[in-house]
């Protein structure tokens, strides 16, 4: 009998230690109290306690006694540069899919231990698992999803635009807003040209750049979050932006309308990852699990206004965007593509072409769109070739200014000499 009891106890201990090895015990979690977790997220991307909402970071601190140091970024590339340059060490980052793929390839992310994130299995449905950017779902847990669409002001725009070509409509010259980052701007041109976002063909990227240069005829304004001010005040007629943000704008200007263009659009996922070298990985996983708690996920979804991949949120009838057709369109209703990581050469080509687009002056460059169809070669009036007419204008101004200054100095010098003689 004693033997049996001893064996049973031993078995229990073994079972317990196995359990310990798999999932963090409450002791482990308690030991984390007083440690610090560094989180790096998009701006305005977590419920922060404003207007009586849930303060997620504070709730996490209270529950586990772990301090959260929370920083924000405003684009994937800036986030990447900051982490890559090595001056910072965060535990948690929430980038978009193509950046996650790039960070996986470059070994910047840590594999997650899903036994510490039981809410993943509970709440993330099949269709959001094993995405193409993280095929085995080892590194990331989806946080928000969404699509880019065309926002227009129905008080200015006639009818209902249904195509990205509306952003090239000369009727709305000076009132068109365009993404001020290369990936999204090229994405729109690639939609119109029926191209793959992730093409490695130099010709395709140049073609898309020519289309963006052609758009300069409507004097587009390149914006980031200024789009809120410009759309809400009625300053702009059309712009491309995220569906979730449209809902925020619509609250402030009811004239605004939204459409998913027929050529297809970008579908994005922002997902939570743990950075390699994280000094507090268990706390990071607790944090991820915490973000997947239904009430926390709901508070975040209400605050951010983006679609949530959390089944506890979008099936909740109390959720204010429950069944919202803009945030949660039927699967397959609209054509979508997603960004993937590009090769370093293509990334460099894209940046360089984007510089060309930004500095292209339509009044002086003429239409080189026709030109490149005529001779089959690209970059006819290439800005890189030589001094553009605009540049020479500034050069002339500067030279005139220098000559005036110089002659004044010379005049004084000569006068001084004459006086000295006298």
């Amino acid at each position: 009998m004693k033997k049996i009891l001893a064996a049973f106890t031993a078995l229990l201990i073994v079972a317990f230690s196995v359990f310990c090895a798999n999932a963090a015990s409450s002791d482990d979690i308690e030991a984390l109290s007083g440690t610090t977790l560094y989180v790096y997220n998009w701006g305005e991307y977590i419920s922060d306690g404003a207007d009586g909402t849930l303060d997620v970071n504070k709730a996490f601190e209270e529950k586990y006694g772990i301090d959260v140091v929370y920083d924000t970024f405003d684009n994937n590339e800036a986030m990447y540069s900051k982490i890559k340059s090595g001056g910072v060490s965060y535990d948690i980052v929430i980038p978009s899919e193509y950046m996650i793929q790039r960070m996986i390839v470059e070994g910047m992310l840590e594999k997650l231990d899903y036994s510490n994130i039981p809410n993943f299995d509970k709440y993330i449905p099949e269709k959001y698992r094993n995405p193409s950017y993280d095929p085995k779902n080892e590194y990331s847990v989806p946080y928000t999803v969404g699509m880019v669409g065309l926002i227009y002001n129905s008080a200015i725009v006639d009818g209902t635009p249904d195509s990205w070509s509306a952003l090239w409509d000369k009727q709305y010259k000076g009132q068109i807003l365009m993404f001020n980052n290369p990936r999204d701007a090229f994405g729109i041109a690639q939609n119109l040209l029926g191209m793959d976002y992730n093409t490695e063909s130099v010709m395709s990227w140049k073609l898309a750049a020519e289309l963006l240069k052609e758009q300069k005829q409507v004097a587009p304004v390149y914006v980031n979050d200024e789009i809120f001010l410009k759309m809400e005040s009625g300053e702009a007629a059309l712009g491309a932006y995220y569906a979730g943000d449209f809902l925020t704008m619509k609250d402030n200007n009811p004239d605004l309308e939204f459409v998913y263009p027929k050529e297809g659009t970008n579908y994005f996922v922002d997902a939570i990852c743990v950075l390699k070298g994280s000094k507090n990985k268990l706390a990071a996983e607790l944090y991820i699990n915490f973000l997947l708690e239904p009430d926390v996920a709901l508070a975040n979804a209400e605050y951010i206004c983006y679609a949530s991949p959390h089944s506890g949120v979008y099936t909740n009838p109390d959720y204010s965007f429950y069944g919202n057709e803009i945030l949660y369109p039927e699967d397959g209703k609209f054509k979508t593509q997603s960004y993937l990581n590009l090769s370093p050469d293509t990334l460099e080509l894209m940046s360089s072409l984007w510089d060309d687009v930004k500095n292209y002056n339509v009044d002086e460059g003429g239409s080189n769109y026709d030109f490149f169809f005529a001779d089959g070669s690209l970059g006819g009036a290439d800005a890189s070739a030589a001094l553009t007419p605009e540049g020479s204008r500034y050069l002339v101004y500067i030279i005139i200014f220098a000559v005036i200054c110089f002659s004044y100095v010379a005049f004084r010098y000569i006068r001084k000499k004459i006086r000295e003689k006298a």
């Binding site: 590339e77 800036a78 300069k216 060309d356 540049g391 500034y394």
Partner: protein, 272 residues
């Protein structure tokens, strides 16, 4: 003598350490990145690639010159006006000049966007009093306005501080010798306040040439200044090498401009 110089060295050492860490070291990094490629090998390609940005360079320099001239034209009379008041009034006026700087530069520029846009405050007012609205936002003029507005205190303050200490007996002497107001300003006040003007020009021209935020918000992002290109290389393209080489050339350009100007004004002071 030697103990004295040792003391002097000790007193200066915090500044020397500071400038070594935060001025000299970054400059070395800039130079290093400018002449290497992403694998760290020596290359001149970054510098050759700059020809693509000639127009952007020229535009930045020209905008900087225009903004500096406008600042000078506004600041000189204003600084003179302030310096002629009683001490109490002077203090209030200087405070008013500095007041906008208590607010973030970014917020002030963002507010100009709301003021200048077609449906903005200025145009709404114009329409209300029956004047046709003026298109101001997303133009070159708006960018220069943003520069002048943001950097004007940097011109007023140094000129004012020189003028406040002007030797009044000189001006009186000028008047005694029969000079009228204009002569006094031209022959006496301008030459004497030249040191303030020189530092004012430097403090406005340098940030104007290298600014990046103003052109994006007030210029609509459809034309770049050189600061925008540099920012993009670091923030978006992760091309530190190209970014550093543009910064490097920009620094040299600014140094040349400053050197030329210092010669010019040195001559001026001698010509009193």
């Amino acid at each position: 003598m030697s103990s004295r110089s040792l003391k002097a060295k000790l007193v200066a050492s915090p500044y020397i350490v500071w400038s070594a860490i935060f001025i000299i070291a970054p400059l070395i990094f800039v130079a290093y990145y400018a002449f290497t490629d992403s694998s760290g090998a020596f290359t001149l390609e970054n510098i050759f690639e700059l020809s693509k940005y000639t127009t952007t360079f020229l535009r930045s320099v020209w905008f900087g010159i225009v903004a500096t001239i406008i600042c000078l034209i506004i600041a000189f009379p204003l600084a003179y006006f302030i310096s002629q008041k009683t001490e109490k009034v002077q203090r209030t006026l200087v405070l008013l000049v500095m007041l906008p700087m208590w607010m973030s530069f970014l917020i002030r520029t963002y507010s100009w966007m709301a003021l200048l846009q077609d449906t903005g405050i200025i145009n709404s007012f114009l329409m209300k009093i029956g004047i046709d609205p003026v298109h101001m936002i997303n133009t070159e003029g708006a960018v220069i306005l943003g520069m002048v507005y943001n950097f004007l205190p940097f011109m007023i303050t140094p000129i004012y501080s020189v003028m406040a200490k002007l030797d009044h007996s000189m001006i009186e002497a000028c008047q005694d010798l029969g000079g009228n107001r204009l002569t006094c300003v031209r022959r006496c006040i301008i030459p004497m306040s030249m040191p303030g003007v020189v530092s004012g020009i430097t403090m406005v021209f340098v940030p104007s040439v290298s600014t990046f935020y103003i052109s994006q918000k007030l210029g609509g992002g459809s034309f770049d200044l050189i600061g925008d290109v540099i920012e993009r290389q670091f923030q978006q393209s992760y091309n530190y090498n190209l970014g550093a080489s543009i910064s490097f050339v920009l620094m040299i350009l600014i140094l040349i401009c400053m050197a030329v100007m210092n010669r010019f004004t040195g001559d001026e002071e001698m010509a009193i």
